[in-house]
């Protein structure tokens, strides 16, 4: 019974990890940039949702679309104004340092604006739960979190695989020059990709805020998680992020259940190093550009 509950909790956490990582994975796959400010954007999403819910009483799940819209704009400007500049002027590795600097700035701003205290979002339906067969319980919050994560991942997969802009993004990732020769405005595509990534990070922040209490310094963990998920699953695809996220969720709940609550990160890291050595392109290995 305990095993079943562990697996269920792991899956819920995994869905959240997957959604938080998919944007990171997209940027890594398409732009080749490791965005160390990704976790900070997740936290911005959580705080924006908290603010909307707290000030207007809007249901937190309904807050997701406006939060995504705001963060899309933020991501677009951030990429065109700063990251592209860093990549042009020095190197991809240096652009990583720029994103680290931005992460520090954002974390500091969040502390200044919202205080360093833990916040949590608890809508009216937060305390209802379902009792499944055999004493396994799952609360409504977790069901809706998992559901929303899966729905958003599905939507992103649809956009990437079936729509025009998705095709353009994949083409640019495969070969920038060829895409530009076909009339693609590569810089615009990069910025849009970054915007999409930021939007999904924001959505995951909103869901994370419903499931767990959060504080600004958590951002570093979310960035590291995203990296592990991407390495586990494979770069640049929603299905890879989903697989990696679910695995990571299961591993970390199982580790804290079986070995001890202090060890999930150590275990995660062990698996990360093993994966990087054995199969650096991830389990699915369908990266479009990042594994170059």
């Amino acid at each position: 019974m305990l095993a079943l509950q562990t697996i269920l909790d792991g899956l819920v956490l995994g869905g959240l990890y997957a959604l938080a990582a998919v944007g990171f994975s997209l940027i890594f796959g398409v732009l080749g940039v490791v965005n160390l400010s990704h976790g900070a954007i997740v936290m911005i999403g959580a705080y924006l949702t908290w603010f909307l819910w707290h000030s207007t009483g809007l249901d937190p799940l309904l807050c997701i679309p406006p939060v995504m819209l705001v963060l899309f704009a933020f991501g677009y400007v951030y990429q065109r104004g700063l990251i592209q500049l860093a990549v042009d002027r020095s190197s991809l590795l240096a652009s990583m340092l720029v994103t680290f600097g931005v992460a520090l700035m954002l974390r500091n701003l969040l502390v200044l604006v919202f205080s360093p205290d833990f916040k949590s979002i608890s809508p009216g339906w937060a305390f209802s739960f379902l009792r499944l067969a055999g004493g396994v319980t799952i609360d409504l919050v977790r069901i809706s979190a998992l559901g929303a994560s899966l729905a958003l991942l599905g939507a992103l997969a649809y956009v990437l695989n079936r729509t025009r802009i998705g095709r353009v993004i994949r083409a640019t990732a495969q070969q920038e020059l060829a895409a530009r020769l076909c009339g693609v405005n590569a810089r615009h595509v990069y910025a849009v990709t970054f915007g999409v990534s930021a939007a999904f990070a924001g959505a995951s922040g909103a869901i994370l805020g419903i499931v767990l209490p959060f504080a600004p310094p958590d951002e570093a963990n979310w960035t590291l998680n995203a990296f592990v998920v991407v390495v586990l699953g494979g770069i640049g695809s929603p299905s890879g992020a989903l697989l990696g996220g679910l695995l990571l969720g299961l591993i970390s709940t199982a580790t804290s259940q079986l070995i001890g609550p202090a060890f999930p990160n150590a275990m995660m890291f062990l698996i990360l190093v093993l994966m990087l050595m054995v199969r650096p392109s991830g389990l699915l290995g369908n990266a479009f550009a990042g594994s170059r």
Partner: protein, 329 residues
């Protein structure tokens, strides 16, 4: 190779010796507080140089070098308090410190040699993030396993020596460490291995194809860099007197080691030194007044730095000199 390098750089070498000799008089002239600032500058300089042995010379940017500061500090601290005992440390403080240094460096060397095998197969961003992970995990293990005393903290005994004040003792220790690391870095850069590393940094596959033993070189540099960083960690821990996980496993250490090099000039010896001096003066003196904006300003500085001078001060200066030389001819 080394002899030619010494002849070519003889003015720089004389300048370095004169500079280090001049720095030796600082504790007699300045106030204790300023000696502490000097301590910090020396620590930062030597950390930047230790990092550059791998990051600057071979192009393997470690984002988690603070792992070795922490590892060295805790290895030495546990050895001194648990194995030697406080009674021995009180009776023979200098011998205890020396033994602690040896243990700290030894543990770092062994740990680096073990970690090097899987991790140095990764390149670029993957290596950087893997090192970030190493630091994170070591910090968490130190904190959560009670035997390591990471959450309770370790107390280091005072090191009275030659009738000097504590801050002067650590100032001199760090001065000696800086001189030693500078010497090692100079020798490495100008020896055969240094040229091999430079080739690797430009193109590892080509270097390997041309017969550079890349695998051996980078493992050697990783272990050397880790060992020296560990030694600095031991000295730093003693200068603090009391450490917990958070005071030696500090992400900002890792970050700063990169920033010093980036600001000064990657792959040079002068670069990390200039970078460290500027950054310490800036953060301690200028930013000291904005405590709650500290992180924001550090981040903003980092961004501005990468955008404004991607090659660093030394790199920009060299490019300017080269341009002038070509314009003159």
């Amino acid at each position: 190779m080394l002899r030619e390098a010494v002849a070519k750089h003889r003015w720089w070498i004389l300048l370095a010796i004169a500079g280090l000799a001049a720095l030796a008089f600082v504790p007699f002239v300045l106030m204790p507080f300023h000696v502490r600032v000097g301590q910090l500058i020396l620590l930062s300089t030597s950390l930047g140089l230790a990092w550059t042995l791998l990051g600057g010379f071979a192009g393997y940017w470690s984002f988690g070098h603070t792992a070795f500061i922490g590892l060295g500090a805790f290895a030495a601290g546990l050895f001194e308090t648990q194995v030697l005992g406080l009674a021995f440390m009180r009776a023979e403080p200098l011998a205890g410190l020396g033994l602690g240094l040896l243990v700290g460096m030894g543990v770092c060397a062994v740990a680096a040699a073990i970690v090097a095998w899987p991790i140095l197969r990764l390149r670029g961003i993957y290596f950087a993030v893997a090192m970030l992970g190493v630091a994170q995990v070591l910090a968490e293990l130190t904190n959560s396993i009670d035997a390591f005393k990471g959450s309770m903290g370790l107390v280091f005994p005072r090191i009275p020596a030659f009738g000097l004040r504590q801050e002067a003792v650590f100032y001199y220790l760090l001065l000696i460490a800086t001189a030693a690391i500078l010497l090692i870095a100079f020798v490495v850069k100008n020896a055969r291995i240094g040229h091999g590393l430079a080739a690797m940094r430009e193109d590892e596959d080509t270097a390997r194809m041309l017969g550079v033993p890349t695998e051996r070189y980078k493992i050697t540099m990783f272990v050397l860099s880790a060992t020296l960083t560990g030694a600095l960690g031991v000295i730093y821990a003693h200068s603090l007197g009391y450490i917990t996980t958070g005071s030696v496993y500090r992400t900002d250490f890792s970050l700063n080691m990169i920033v010093y090099n980036l600001l000064g000039g990657m792959g040079t010896l002068l670069g990390p030194m200039i970078g460290a001096v500027i950054m310490v003066l800036l953060t301690q003196v200028v930013l000291g007044g904005f405590l709650n904006l500290h992180m924001f300003l550090t981040g903003a500085m980092l961004v501005a730095l990468v955008l404004a001078a991607p090659k660093g001060i030394v790199g920009t200066w060299q490019a300017w000199r080269r341009r002038r030389a070509s314009a003159a001819s």
